[in-house]
């Protein structure tokens, strides 16, 4: 038999007397609750203690003396029992969620929603288990605890963008006019934790003063995580920066109009800015500099004379366009973005050889709450019957905000060779734009812009644009 001698017993006893307060005080301190929780982060990597329901339950330790062991055993048994019950509740909830009808109402739907949207059920939440012990009042889970919880069918959110303009120009055949810009109805709806829908509907009057309606974006988006976001539908091609940063609403733009390089197809733009197909985007796992990728495949742009440029329903060939891009947003320099993309398509025109189109785009952007610096360069490569044609283009834009006033300067350049098989009519266009944007309120701004555009073999264009743009 092992025995403890008297001397050792004395030492043990003195140890107990000396250290007893250390055991007892932390659990009986006045700051009990806050202390317990604030202390948790101090255990790096100890996630199990936070996720487990047992860790969330403060163990009362005001009792001392010979009943300690039996109390601890009782508590241990209680914790095991709570764990069992929690497991049972989770199992029941999962079963209930599976059997609930999609349009069901009442608690079944609410619980399903809670499960999909990441809201802990009262029974399973640590808060509630704590509350059961009287440490924290139980928290009722209501629908309002998360805004994007569809209670029943999905909810549609609409945001409108519009602008009213006046243009004075020296262009022959065009009079100074007031004109309406695009009425942009931007619709979004969350369908579930991972699925959402986005649409951009445009009502716009043309040169004949007749209104046209067009779906410019319609996407069903599946967001598995931040590395994998797949969209299907009609999208804005991720060529460069401007097209996916500003879309249609001129409200967000500093300038009154888009750089010519990024003008929409319907207004004579040369880039395939809209496409119908699939788009995959996300961060690159473990990559430095906040690297992100984009991969798109779609119908591409129509090349037949007189055809609508965006092939929403019918593709004029079986070949599909693709666009691959990579861009970086380094965390160390907030507001900086740089990237590169390559787009490829085959343009089929009746009676002439097919054109292999490759578009290479690079950008360097710096935007913070005061300063905006946008730089983009694009090179088209058209290959037809052994001949190669290049179209270079770029723009640079700088602006700085002074309270509600933001003066800006932009210089743009694009040079289409006179013998280019697709866009020869565009020719060369280059020149500066200067102006100011003034924020009249959070959602209304006024812009005044002067453009000077030099053109090959044509007289230069001078244009003044006044614009009121707003969101509602």
């Amino acid at each position: 038999m092992l025995s403890i001698n008297r001397k050792t017993f004395r030492i043990v006893l003195s140890c107990l007397v000396f250290f007893a307060p250390s055991y007892l005080l932390p659990e009986t301190t006045v700051h009990g609750q806050a202390k317990t929780e604030l202390a948790q982060p101090a255990k790096p990597g100890d996630s199990s203690t936070q996720t487990g329901s047992t860790a969330a339950i403060p163990v009362p330790s005001t009792t001392t003396g010979p009943t300690d062991d039996s109390d601890k055993e009782t508590i241990r048994q209680m914790l095991r029992r709570i764990e069992d019950l929690e497991g049972r509740i989770r199992e029941l909830e999962a079963r209930q969620a599976q059997t609930a009808a999609p349009t069901g109402t009442g608690t079944a739907t609410a619980q399903q929603n809670a499960a999909t949207e990441g809201i802990d059920s009262p029974a399973a939440s640590p808060t509630n288990t704590n509350g059961g012990q009287g440490a924290i009042p139980p928290v009722a889970i209501t629908h309002d605890d998360h805004q994007d919880l569809p209670n029943g069918p999905p909810r549609l959110q609409i945001q409108g963008f519009a602008d009213v303009n006046f243009r004075a120009t020296n262009e022959k055949g065009r009079n100074n006019s007031f004109f309406l810009g695009q009425l942009d109805l931007f619709l979004t709806s969350r369908l579930s934790e991972k699925f959402s829908v986005l649409s951009e509907l445009i009502l716009e009057a043309g040169e004949d003063n007749a209104f046209t309606f067009e779906i410019h974006r319609l996407l069903l988006k599946y967001s598995r995580n931040e590395y994998f976001n797949l969209s299907a539908g009609r999208y804005h091609t991720s060529i460069g920066y401007y097209n996916t940063a500003f879309h249609h609403g001129s409200f967000f733009q500093t300038t009154a109009n888009r750089p010519f390089l990024f003008a929409f197809e319907s207004r004579g733009g040369i880039l395939p800015l809209h496409n119908v197909g699939l788009s995959l985007t996300g961060r690159i796992p473990s990559a430095p500099l906040g690297l992100r990728y984009v991969a798109e495949i779609g119908n591409g742009r129509a090349a037949r004379p007189g055809a609508r440029p965006v092939q929403t329903v019918v593709d004029e060939n079986n070949g599909k366009s693709f666009n691959l891009g990579i861009f970086a947003r380094p965390r160390q320099v907030p507001g900086l973005q740089t990237g590169f993309s390559v787009y490829h398509d085959r343009l089929t025109r009746p009676g002439v050889p097919t054109v292999d189109q490759t578009i290479m785009a690079g950008h360097l952007i710096y935007v913070n709450d005061r300063t905006e610096l946008l730089n983009e360069a694009i090179v088209f490569r058209h290959a037809q019957a052994g001949r190669i044609f290049y179209i270079p283009g770029f723009y640079t834009q700088f602006s700085r905000r002074f309270d509600n006033l933001r003066p800006f300067f932009r210089y743009q350049y694009v040079n289409v060779p006179g013998d280019d098989p697709i866009y020869r009519a565009v020719g060369r266009r280059n020149g500066p734009s200067v102006g100011v944007r003034y924020d009249l309120s959070d959602f209304v701004n006024f812009k005044a812009q002067y453009d000077h555009t030099g053109r090959r073999r044509l007289s230069a264009l001078d244009e003044l644009i006044l614009q009121l743009s707003f969101t509602f």
């Binding site: 050792t8 604030l38 403060p58 802990d120 640590p126 967001s223 965390r331």
Partner: protein, 179 residues
Amino acid sequence: MFRANRILNILLILMLMSVPILAPANAVEERLLSPSLLLRTLQRGDLAIIVHKSNPVQNLSMAELREYFLAERSHWSTQQKIRVAMREPGSPEREAVLRLICGMKRDQDFTTYFLRAKFSEQVVDEPRSLDSTPNMIRFVANVSGAIGYVRADEVDPSVRVIRVDNLLPGDPDYKLVLP
């Protein structure tokens, strides 16, 4: 036999002496309980970043916080979707977060930022706006991917405080201080 007893006795003493070191009262806990530190937190108005208790994240840098609050990150490392909770416009806590984390001086910039982020397919949901500390704590306590903020002296045990740049509220160089 005598030698074995002696060794066991020594081991017993060592075990008893070591228990206080391993006990729950770790360094951070002691610091947070320190009256002087608590007073400093109160006087300075430190802001605590809070997350759901199940969130395993312990520490975020200011740059990471910026990414989270501006929805440049959409998911936690656990693949849980991030739900940003903000106080209502005009509250000092919100102003501090906008200025110190988001680098924005005007509330309007934050509103416009998210309007544009939504327009650019970066986010589907805007941050949840909550009009009081209890509501903020309630939201973060109930939504498993939530991240929010409250005054450090108003934290309650239903949520968890994370470190910012390896510092907790009350630390001398802690950056999230109310204006």
